[in-house]
C-alpha cells in the first residue's frame, strides 16, 4: 500500500496575504482519484481544508483545480496518473476564497447580461424541430460549468480585458444555434462580449472535460457571425439584395 504526497496550497486572502504549501501523506487505494485523497486529508488530518465538491462523478463541475500545474477536475483525475507527488492549487484566473476554493460568482453576473432565448413572434407552440437541427446546440449543452476553460484562457488569466470568456461564448452559441431562436447575439458578442480579444489559441478546447469543441464549433462560428455584421460589406450588400441570408 504505497503512499502519495499531496502538496496543497493553503491561503485565506481576506485574513492574511500569506500563502503556504502543506504536505500530507495519503495511503493510496485502487482506483483512487485526487478528490478521494483530498477527502482523506479533510476527514482525518485537517477538517478546515477548504475544498468545494458535490457529485464526485464529473457531472457538477464544482471540483475544478490545477493539479500539477494543469487545470483538471479533481474527481476525474486518477492518483496513479499523477505520480507520487501531487501539487494541488486553486484556479488562478479567479480570486481565491480559501485554500482550493475560488470565487466564480462573477460568471453569473456575465450570464445575466447575455440576451436569453427568445423564439420568433409567431412560432407555433408546441415547438416542432428536427433532430438533425438541434445537434449543434446540443453539444454545447453538455457544459457542466466547471470554469476550467475560463481558467485556462490566457486572455482572462493574464490580461485585463472585457472578454466574457469561452464558457459564455459556448452558452451564447448554444442559444444562437437553437433552431427556433429569433434574435442574433453577434452585436452583443462584438461590443460587450469582447470576442475580438480571443486569438484562437485553442487552450480552452484542449482542457474541456466534456470534450466540447469550444473553439472550432462555438467561438469561430460566433466570430464569423460578427464578421457577417461588421467586417463583410460585400456580404451585407448581397444580404440587402437577396434578403434571405440571415433569415
Amino acid at each position: 500500500m504505497h503512499e502519495v504526497v499531496l502538496r496543497i496550497k493553503r491561503s485565506e486572502p481576506s485574513v492574511s496575504a500569506e500563502t503556504r504549501f502543506d504536505e500530507f501523506k495519503v495511503p493510496v487505494e485502487e482506483g483512487m482519484v485526487v478528490l478521494d485523497a483530498v477527502h482523506y486529508v479533510e476527514q482525518n488530518i485537517d477538517p478546515t481544508l477548504g475544498v468545494r465538491w458535490n457529485c464526485k462523478a464529473a457531472r457538477c463541475g464544482s471540483c475544478a483545480a490545477e493539479i500539477n500545474g494543469r487545470p483538471k477536475l479533481m474527481c476525474k483525475t486518477r492518483v496513479e496518473s499523477m505520480g507520487d507527488k501531487i501539487t494541488i492549487e486553486p484556479m488562478r484566473a479567479f480570486p481565491v476564497v480559501k485554500d482550493l476554493v475560488t470565487d466564480v460568482s462573477h460568471n453569473f453576473e456575465i450570464a445575466r447580461k447575455i440576451p436569453p432565448f427568445t423564439p420568433k413572434k409567431d412560432t407555433p407552440t408546441p415547438f416542432l424541430m428536427q433532430q438533425s437541427d438541434i445537434l449543434r446546440s446540443k453539444e454545447f449543452r453538455t457544459c457542466i460549468e466547471c470554469f476550467l476553460c475560463q481558467d485556462v484562457c490566457h486572455v482572462i488569466r493574464e490580461h485585463n480585458s472585457d472578454y466574457v470568456g469561452p464558457k459564455h461564448v459556448v452558452k451564447i452559441a448554444s442559444l444562437d444555434m437553437h433552431p427556433l431562436d429569433g434574435i442574433d447575439r453577434s452585436n452583443f458578442m462584438h461590443s460587450d462580449g469582447g470576442l475580438g480579444y480571443c486569438d484562437i489559441t485553442k487552450c480552452c478546447q484542449e482542457t474541456c472535460p466534456e470534450d466540447i469543441k469550444i473553439t472550432d464549433n462555438a467561438i469561430i462560428p460566433e466570430k464569423e457571425r460578427i464578421v457577417d455584421h461588421v467586417y463583410d460589406p460585400l456580404g451585407r450588400l448581397i444580404h440587402r439584395i437577396r434578403g434571405s441570408r440571415w433569415q
Partner: protein, 241 residues
C-alpha cells in the same frame, strides 16, 4: 467583464525583443528573395512551380490567406508572439503588477477578420494547380508520361483543395454555417448533408493546413533540385498516344 487588478503595460508585440518573431521575419525575407532572385517562371520539363502558378503577384494574397487561417493563428500566436507561451502558464507580471500589452484581434490582427475574402482568392487559385498537373502529363509531344513530379503536383493540388474546403469560413459562408435551422430553409436536407460532410473535414483542418504548406514548399524545392541537376525524377509510365 473580467477586470482584474492587473494593470496593462502597453507595448505592442512588434517592438518587444523576441527572437522567435525576428527569426520568422528573416526566414520570410530569405524565401521571398529566393522566389524573386532566381525564378522558375514557366515550366521546367513540364512542371510548373506552384508559387509561380498564375503569377508571382498572387503570393501576398495566398500568404495572407494562410496567415489569417484559423489553424495557423494558434501556431503563430503561441510560437511567435507568445500569447500565450503555453496553456495554463504562470502569470508573467512586470515590476508593478503590469502584464505585457495585449490587443488580441482588435488591433493589427483585426485584419484576420477578412479571412473570407482571402478564401475567395484561395478558391480562385485552385484550378491552376490541376491545370499544371494536366500540362505535366503531356509535356512531351505525342507521349503520355507519368513521373514522380506529376504525382507530387496532383498531391499538392488535392491537399490545397482539402485545406481550402475544410476552412471554417468556407463552412460559414458556402455551406451556410450561419443558418440556425436547416430544415426550415429550402433545400435544407441536402445542405445539412453538405454541412455535416464539411464539418467532418473541418475537424482535420489543422492537419490539412500543416501538410499542404509542407507539400507546396516541397514541390517548389523539388523543381529547383531538378533545375540544379540533382537526379531525383523517376518515370513510372510512358506510352505514345
Amino acid at each position: 467583464m473580467f477586470k482584474t487588478e492587473r494593470k496593462q503595460g502597453w507595448f505592442p508585440e512588434f517592438t518587444e525583443l523576441n527572437w522567435r518573431f525576428w527569426s520568422f521575419v528573416i526566414l520570410l525575407i530569405m524565401s521571398l528573395g529566393a522566389l524573386t532572385w532566381f525564378p522558375v517562371t514557366g515550366t521546367f520539363e513540364g512542371y510548373t512551380d506552384p508559387f509561380y502558378s498564375p503569377t508571382l503577384l498572387v503570393i501576398p494574397l495566398i500568404a495572407a490567406f494562410r496567415l489569417s487561417c484559423y489553424a495557423y493563428r494558434k501556431d503563430y500566436y503561441r510560437h511567435v508572439f507568445k500569447h500565450p507561451q503555453a496553456c495554463a502558464t504562470g502569470i508573467r507580471e512586470g515590476k508593478n503588477g503590469e502584464t505585457r500589452g495585449y490587443s488580441g484581434e482588435k488591433g493589427f490582427f483585426a485584419l484576420n477578420n477578412y479571412h473570407r475574402y482571402f478564401l475567395y482568392v484561395g478558391i480562385a487559385i485552385l484550378p491552376f494547380f490541376y491545370y499544371d498537373f494536366g500540362v505535366s502529363l503531356f509535356y512531351e509531344p505525342g507521349y503520355f508520361v507519368l513521373r514522380l513530379g506529376s504525382i507530387l503536383l496532383i498531391v499538392n493540388a488535392l491537399l490545397l483543395t482539402l485545406w481550402t474546403i475544410s476552412c471554417h469560413a468556407f463552412r460559414h459562408v458556402f455551406v451556410r454555417g450561419q443558418l440556425d435551422c436547416f430544415s426550415c430553409s429550402l433545400g435544407g436536407k441536402t445542405m445539412k448533408k453538405l454541412y455535416d460532410g464539411q464539418s467532418f473535414l473541418n475537424r482535420y483542418h489543422e492537419q490539412f493546413a500543416f501538410i499542404s504548406l509542407i507539400i507546396v514548399v516541397g514541390v517548389d524545392l523539388y523543381i529547383r533540385a531538378l533545375m540544379v541537376g540533382l537526379p531525383v525524377d523517376f518515370t513510372f509510365l510512358k506510352f505514345a498516344i
